[in-house]
């Protein structure tokens, strides 16, 4: 039963979807505050390499502690990368698109992450510590829910906690409501006495931290080693996912697992000798094509405003010009 295609796809969908989920939650926070950060791929890669470096080179007593430290380091390095973007677009009001792309070039597969990976000699060795499934193997063998729910690493459960926390934060807390105001009407928020600059900085940096953790999900759990460009475009899918989810964290979860399952579809079908046309082409391209379709739907007749695009997304805030 647990070998049924649907179960396998859902289980790997959750596993492969987790980095997408972390990264898209981070991007969602930044975008809700009005900052579009196209540097997700770069921040993820730096998080991936620094998280991996931590488990390889920093020696602490227990394995669990090393992994937690690795997540902290990954989050911190993602936030440092995001700080460059934040300074350029919030303080200096540079173009958010060009700055985000610059961040991906600077930090990405041809930039800093690759530099660090080769300079710190991290390539081609397996991770010395990795995240393992959390629950005992008897629970993992339970029908259906076993592999999907109980067969996952602690990172998956952490991501669920983050979804709940962010839903609560944006809907029920004072700072959460403030950040929505900053993203929708920075002028009004400023008049209310909310510091637009501070909110945007904090959420862009936290977004970077999430991207860093997302990257380390690859090097510490999914494919526990360092390979140049290991994220393979996941950062771009994460950006697409935020739109796909209409800027809502709970829908990010659904979308992430859907896109994650798509990634597992082609090899699974091949293993079962099922042919559905050019499987690899359409399963790889589908997340991107689907995002284009969703983008059209949300932008049609201003639907994007109703569906949740922050009104001030991508627009620098200047007090005297607002």
């Amino acid at each position: 039963m647990n070998n049924a295609l649907v179960v396998v796809l859902l289980a790997s969908g959750v596993a492969y979807g987790t980095p997408l989920l972390f990264a898209s939650l981070g991007e969602l926070l930044a975008e809700r505050s009005g900052v579009l950060n196209l540097g997700v791929e770069g921040m993820m890669l730096v998080g991936a390499v620094m998280g991996f470096w931590t488990v390889q080179r920093v020696h602490v007593g227990s394995g669990a502690l090393a992994l937690i430290l690795a997540l902290v380091v990954a989050a911190f390095s993602g936030a440092v990368m995001a700080a460059i973007h934040a300074f350029l677009v919030i303080t200096l009001r540079a173009n958010q698109i060009v700055s985000g792309l610059a961040l991906t070039i600077f930090a990405g597969a041809v930039g800093l992450s690759s530099y660090l990976g080769s300079d710190l000699n991290l390539a081609d060795v397996p991770a010395s510590r990795t995240f393992h499934p959390f629950f005992p193997s008897t629970m993992q063998n339970w029908p259906i829910v076993g592999p999907i729910v109980f067969g996952q690493t602690p990172l998956v459960y952490l991501s669920w906690a983050c979804v709940v926390a962010i839903v609560y934060y944006l809907a029920r807390t004072r700072p959460g409501l403030n950040v929505r105001a900053v993203g929708e009407a920075p002028g009004a928020a400023d008049a209310m006495g909310i510091s637009v600059t501070k909110y945007r900085y904090v959420h862009t940096l936290v977004g970077g931290a999430f991207a860093g953790v997302a990257g380390s999900t690859f090097t510490l759990a999914l494919t526990p080693q360092w390979v140049n460009g290991i994220t393979g475009g996941a950062g771009w899918i994460a950006i697409a996912l935020v739109i796909f989810a209409f800027w809502r964290p709970e829908l990010c979860l659904v979308g992430a697992y859907f896109f994650g399952a798509l990634q597992a579809l082609a090899p699974e079908l091949q293993a079962r000798n099922i042919s559905l046309g050019p499987t690899e082409l359409w399963t790889n391209a589908l997340p991107y094509a689907a995002t284009v379709v969703v983008l059209v739907l949300v932008s049609w007749r201003g639907a994007s405003r109703r569906l949740g695009a922050p009104a001030a997304l991508g627009v620098a805030y200047v007090r005297e010009e607002a």
């Binding site: 196209l38 460059i84 350029l88 303080t91 200096l92 009001r93 540079a94 173009n95 698109i97 060009v98 700055s99 792309l101 610059a102 961040l103 991906t104 070039i105 600077f106 930090a107 990405g108 597969a109 041809v110 930039g111 800093l112 992450s113 690759s114 530099y115 660090l116 990976g117 080769s118 300079d119 140049n228 475009g233 771009w236 950006i239 697409a240 739109i243 050019p278 690899e280 082409l281 790889n284 391209a285 991107y288 094509a289 995002t291 284009v292 983008l295 059209v296 932008s299 049609w300 201003g302 010009e321």
Partner: protein, 379 residues
């Protein structure tokens, strides 16, 4: 003491020229600090970089090979960014240009020396391929108001997977199916000899072949400059870029402009794809670690931004960044960290973006004034 940024009322012309130069210089200093921190000698790294890019035997030829596609993608990006139309799909448009261009080359080509007719057809096909691919986000933006930024970006991946599919996962027209090598590793079908673009040899540095594509790039830059600076079309694009409201009020057909500018931008990037096939690879390169790893489309945006969207400056910057890329490729390994080129490119772009602020705004250092200034004692 605090820094405030105020808008400049007039933008001095000299600043526009000085800022990119200072940006590059500042970037080299910052990247030098990165090198120092990680235990490398920046001076020797930079000297090696410069040698490998412009001095060594054959280096200028290699730099031209790296710079040609960047010139195309840079010009393509500049053409759209000028109107604040953020076409970041140059990557995918280049692939489509390569697919279309090589398709026509394979179809029409034959034996013998380079044929102007076949090459012209490849150029046209490359432009059409890129323009069509760019027109998808163009149409979506013009008719549905969908942000072209994300759609053009998403289509890069679709085009990339299509490229891989044509060579690796299917028996397509572009794939070499005959011969021993074809069964070992999938490759593109080689272009017939008269569809291979010629190069001019300059007798220096042991012979520098200037690819035909480089001439096309200069020509494209010239055409774009005339189009944007000397025609009504260009003026309307400029107005539209500065203020859409003003343009609408003046009766500029906004929709048509979006469609046209996206198509032009895509066509130039697509021409770059045709040049990749005709000038250099002579077959469609579907390897995910080949053409797609070069990220010419994304680097093109760096080139365009650093050239401040001016076609001639873009060509010059393409040569500079091309040199950097070339040096990065030749020096990789040894004591030259692999990601250094991306780090330098990224920092150059950050500095250029920061510098852009100085062109438009002035920085003022204001001392915090005490709330109630003390009165001067009267003598």
């Amino acid at each position: 003491m605090r820094l405030t940024i105020e808008r400049r009322l007039d933008q001095p012309r000299w600043l526009a020229a000085v800022v990119p130069v200072v940006s590059v210089a500042a970037a080299l200093v910052l990247a030098g600090i990165v090198l120092l921190v990680t235990g490398h000698d920046p001076f020797s790294s930079y000297r090696k970089l410069f040698d490998a890019a412009f001095v060594q035997t054959g280096s200028v030829g290699q730099t031209l090979i790296a710079a040609t596609p960047l010139a195309f993608t840079g010009l393509g990006a500049a053409a759209a960014f000028r109107m604040r139309l953020y076409n970041i799909g140059g990557e995918g448009q280049l692939y489509m240009g390569a697919i279309f261009g090589s398709g026509i080359g394979l179809l029409l080509g034959g034996a013998g020396g380079a044929s102007p007719g076949v090459i012209a057809a490849m150029v046209a096909a490359g432009c059409v391929g890129g323009a069509l691919w760019a027109s998808i986000p163009g149409v979506l933006r013009a008719f549905f108001g969908t942000s072209e930024i994300l759609t053009s970006l998403m289509l890069n991946y679709v085009a990339g997977y299509l490229l891989t599919y044509l060579i690796f996962q299917s028996q397509s027209y572009w794939r070499q199916t005959k011969g021993f090598n074809a069964t070992v590793f999938p490759t593109g079908k080689p272009l017939p000899s008269n569809a291979v673009w010629p190069a001019w040899n300059v007798h220096a540095q042991g012979g520098i072949p200037i690819p035909l594509g480089a001439f096309f790039a200069v020509l494209a830059g010239l055409v774009l400059w005339v189009l944007y600076k000397r025609t009504r079309f260009g003026f309307e694009v400029q107005v539209l870029g500065d203020s859409e409201g003003a343009a609408r009020y003046a009766g500029v057909p906004v929709r048509r402009k979006i469609l046209a500018v996206m198509a032009i931008s895509g066509a130039v990037a697509g021409l770059g794809g045709a040049s990749q096939v005709g000038d250099f690879s002579h077959a469609l390169d579907g390897d995910p670690n080949g053409l797609q790893k070069q990220a010419y489309g994304y680097s093109g945006i760096v080139v365009a931004a650093l050239g401040r969207y001016n076609p001639f400056a873009v060509l010059l910057v393409a040569l500079l960044i091309g040199g950097l890329d070339n040096a990065g490729n030749t020096l990789q390994g040894a004591d030259f960290p692999s990601g250094l080129v991306g780090v330098i490119q990224g920092i150059i772009l950050f500095c250029a973006l920061g510098g852009e602020v100085l062109v438009r705004h002035r920085l003022r250092v204001a001392r915090r004034v005490a709330a109630t200034p003390e009165l001067e004692p009267v003598a």
